[in-house]
Amino acid sequence: MDEGEGKATASCRVFDLELAAYLEGEEQPELVAHALECSFCYSMLADLERIRSASSELALEEPPRRVWTNIRASLIAERIIRQPEVFWRRWLESWPAWAGLHNPVAVAALGCLMVLGIGLLRVPSVRKSAVDLSDVASAAAAVGPMETSYHAQAASFEPSVKETYQKSLDSLDGEIRECLASVRQEPDNSLAHEYLLAAYQQKANVLQSALNAEGR
């Protein structure tokens, strides 16, 4: 950006794009050359260099627990993540006070009776093999924030670009739904599991590409 002009040049845009790589140690002679000619980019680079230099001297400390709690609370408040509800707490709270289930002793007693009752009444059944969906859950968790960012930015996309991205995301969501249903019903269906993970990966790629492109 040239001083006093207030409008980014193409070199400034290239500077912005390559700044992260430069700060990570990649050689970018043209970036440095541009910074020497552009006071705005020079100032920004100098500030970032100072921050990097100062931060490298700081000791790494684990932030206090309340920091994570506050971040989590903010994310929940902004509906970026949801607070998982504890089933037993919700169930107990749904009972009226007269039932005495807020009393831990009463709950423990009732619990013992239920366990016993279930043990006595249980009929032999074919045990379904447990399905390990932890990798799927991780993949879904990784895609979630990207999807939130995408929806926030998609309004500024050119309509035809947005339509193409949306169509592809719809296809991938369809694939995810179908494969997820198959994996739940058929835990040893390796093809469905493989496709499910691939669909999440592909969805992450599409979202990343859309976010990088900013609708271009």
Binding site: A10, E30, S156
Partner: protein
């Protein structure tokens, strides 16, 4: 590390710089409205990148150590910046950047068409979200990305990485490693000479037409589309095919000599070796049919 220099430059110096920057661009653009031609001397293997918005991009490899560029822009609201690095002498890096003077959301179908001749050993990085891309006879690594438009690459020798969200992909006579990926587009490989080829699409169809390189690995996967492989009777490959749909295979194959996994009740698996099984072919479709065609 940067040398510090005064930040508060006089406004006059800035104005002069701005004029110096703008005048050459203006003169260049004034050659002929909408059409610009330019040649740049380069090293024999420069890195050439194109970032376009909409319009066709055609890149061809040639024997000269020079990039010759011809642009046609259909609107005065579009600008094309050329940035050779270093700015003088033989460039080892050339960037072409199309940008609109309006916001992307307000651009009204303005397009820029590129026709580039580049040194045959160039490395290419092309991004053309809403335009088609065609690359021919380039021996360096090639990366192409589009959102909605088709991509065609012919006679590439280097690592080929082709991605489109919704566009079709066609790759002809590629020799290096090939990775083609689309979500809603079809993928077609014609006469590949690659020993490492991978094509993945979600709803598109995959067509592979040609022979396999001995010890080559070929991986074709679609979710709801179909896969058609056309290969000669002289081919030698080991096939693994999986789908919930149907598998049609024209080749009379022998059971796999390697480990054959047990059959699954949820999908059809097909394992077999044809001739010596020199190449490995893995074909998957979740819902679509897989057909392996024998050609005379």
């Amino acid at each position: 590390m940067l040398n510090r220099h005064p930040i508060g430059k006089p406004a006059r110096r800035c104005a002069i710089r701005l004029i110096l920057l703008v005048i050459p661009v203006g003169l260049w653009a004034a050659e002929e409205p909408g059409r610009v031609e330019k040649s740049l001397d380069t090293t024999p293997n420069p890195r050439v990148s194109v970032s376009n918005l909409r319009g066709n991009v055609v890149v061809k490899g040639w024997e000269k150590s020079q990039v010759h560029a011809l642009f046609t822009t259909a609107s005065s609201k579009l600008e094309v910046d050329i940035e050779p690095t270093p700015p003088k002498g033989q460039a080892d890096r050339v960037r072409f950047l199309t940008h609109t003077l309006d916001s992307p959301a307000n651009s009204n179908g303005e397009s820029a068409d590129y026709s580039l001749d580049v040194p045959v050993n160039s490395t290419l990085d092309i991004r053309d979200p809403q335009g088609s891309v065609r690359v021919e006879k380039v021996q360096g690594d090639v990366h192409v990305y589009t959102v909605a438009a088709p991509i065609s690459v012919a006679e590439a020798l280097g690592h080929l990485q082709v991605e489109s969200v919704g566009g079709n992909i066609e790759i002809v006579r590629a020799s290096g490693r090939v990775e083609a990926n689309s979500v809603n587009g079809d993928i077609r490989f014609t006469s590949p000479a690659s020993a490492d080829l991978r094509g993945v699409t979600t709803s598109g169809r995959i067509v592979y037409q040609g022979d396999f390189v001995p010890r080559g690995n070929y991986d074709l996967a679609t979710y709801s589309g179909e896969v058609d492989v056309f290969c000669p009777a002289t081919a030698s490959f080991e096939l693994t095919a999986k789908t919930k749909g149907k598998v049609d295979n024209d080749f009379r194959m022998t059971p796999n000599q390697r480990h054959t996994p047990p059959a699954s009740p949820y999908y059809t698996s097909f394992f077999g070796t044809y001739h010596e099984g020199k190449a490995t072919l893995e074909v998957r479709s979740y819902n679509g049919a897989i057909r392996i065609h024998r050609q005379p």
